[in-house]
């Protein structure tokens, strides 16, 4: 399953601190990456479909988000398995970064 596609990893991270609806995920990803990762609805729901099928996330309930409007929205949350996959992917990337640091491709942690 690893490496994850950027969209899937971002969605896992967006859901790591609690369930969100589709637009909530989209907004969080855009904010966290300073707008550099902008997912369209097609990428978002294509990824959601694959992640539901492989058990990384699950749909919870439908309820309105009073911050947006009074429409009912479906919420998604991380499964146990999804959390473990996100951890494994983070460790994989961390190891990769350590290699980059030892080879001085990337400055040591904390600096640039």
């Amino acid at each position: 399953m690893l490496p994850l596609t950027p969209a899937v990893f971002h969605i896992l991270l967006a859901l790591a601190d609690g369930e969100k609806h589709g637009y909530g995920i989209m907004k969080e990803v855009s904010q966290r990456t300073g707008g550099s990762m902008r997912m369209g609805p097609g990428t978002l729901y294509g990824s959601i479909r694959r992640m539901l099928a492989s058990g990384l996330i699950e749909a919870t309930d439908e309820r309105p988000d009073p911050e947006i409007d009074d429409e009912r929205r479906r919420y998604y949350r991380l499964t146990e398995f999804g959390l473990r996959v996100a951890q494994a992917e983070s460790r994989r990337l961390d190891q990769l970064l350590q290699v980059a640091r030892t080879k001085h491709v990337l400055a040591p942690q904390g600096g640039f």
């Binding site: 637009y23 609805p41 097609g42 479909r49």
Partner: protein, 356 residues
């Protein structure tokens, strides 16, 4: 019904986006189309607020390129799935079909009433619950309501042509995609009524011409597909709340959406009966499509404006929630007549009572 104001640019962009959603494979669109449109709307609205028209334009560009790429990807995946099925690697239907296949048990009641003021009933309705399990699985149940207009009995003729043509064409259409089937069926009905108008030498604005609204809902597993022209309605009642699925093609509904009229004002507005889209007056007609997922315990209400224009939403919700379909239909019609019964009244109530 929702008091949140949607800016015109956002409404236009969303309409285009909903149309473009048709490029996705049917399974994908049925499952996520509604949420995608909902997400797109919220995103557009917030982008317009924060970044203005230019931001909205950028968003549309991004969405379009995203749509092309992901639509191709989803089609590729469906093709692969089909190939695997052909070679016997996967069971027919694949993964998506498992979730969609479970048929619902339905309780249905329907009735049409002339009302108190009209001399003829121009409404027509029908329900089809296929007996053949394969047809039920492939095409699902069908509910159609039409509100005809035209002098003498022409309105009744138009609405009858609409509901019967939709039934015939929908069940004969072999394509899997319910939305495309329903749109095709309504367009056929339009062509037929238009041809009959032409054959009788009727000009477009002639009083002798006939036309009709038409709303058709197909329920296949948990997927409800609604196709609409005019101001007849489909409501879904879920968890104690009633939501209109269709969008009226009426002047007052547009004014309510734009925020220039409140729903209460629309109810008594003197042009409340004016619709700008119906079957029979032009060779081509544009059909709106809405896709919803329904659950066990949900209720559906289809009706003409003789009901929705006379009885408050809260009251309709209360009746449909409290009584079984038969009693609901009886009470809905009684309430509309008690409110003066100015128009013909038609209602179909469906209870989704669970899986077989």
């Amino acid at each position: 019904m929702t008091p949140v104001r949607i800016p015109r640019q956002v409404a236009l962009a969303e309409r285009c986006y909903r149309l473009l959603l048709l490029t996705y494979p049917a399974h994908f669109r049925r499952t996520y189309g509604y949420e995608m449109a909902q997400t797109f709307r919220a995103w557009s609205r917030e982008t317009l607020r924060a970044e203005g028209n230019l931001g909205l334009l950028r968003l549309c560009g991004l969405t379009l390129s995203d749509l092309i790429a992901t639509s191709l990807k989803e089609h590729g995946r469906s093709l692969l799935l089909r190939l695997k099925q052909l070679m016997g690697v996967m069971p027919p239907g694949g993964l998506d079909a498992l979730a969609l296949a479970a048929p619902m048990r339905l309780q249905v009641a329907q009735h049409t009433d002339i009302g108190c003021k009209r001399s003829v009933n121009d409404d027509n309705l029908l329900t089809v619950l296929p007996q053949d399990p394969q047809t039920f699985k492939d095409k699902g149940a069908l509910f159609v309501v039409a509100d005809g207009m035209g002098g003498h009995t022409r309105g009744a003729r138009a609405s009858e042509l609409a509901v019967t043509t939709v039934r015939e064409v929908y069940y004969q259409d072999a394509q899997e995609d319910s939305a495309a089937s329903l749109v095709h069926a309504i367009k056929q009905a339009n062509a037929l009524i238009y041809a009959e108008n032409l054959a009788r030498g009727i000009k477009l604005d002639d009083k002798d011409g006939m036309g009709t609204t038409c709303i058709a809902a197909a329920l296949q597993g948990q997927t409800l597909t609604v196709a609409n022209v005019g101001d007849s309605r489909v409501y879904v009642i879920h968890a104690g709340q009633m939501r209109q699925v269709s969008r009226d093609h009426s002047l007052v509904a547009d004014m309510v959406r734009e925020g220039t009229l409140t729903p209460e004002q629309a109810r008594t507005h003197e042009q409340r009966n004016v619709i700008y889209r119906c079957l029979g007056v032009q060779a081509e007609v544009e059909v709106d499509v809405f896709v919803e997922t329904v659950e066990e315990g949900d209720r559906l209400l289809l009706c003409t404006d003789g009901l929705s224009g006379s009885v408050e939403d809260d009251e309709m919700l209360h009746i449909v929630q409290t009584f079984d379909p038969e009693e609901s239909v009886r009470q809905l019609i009684a309430r509309a007549n008690a409110a003066g019964g100015p128009d013909n009244i038609t209602a179909i109530v469906v209870h989704v009572t669970g899986q077989n």
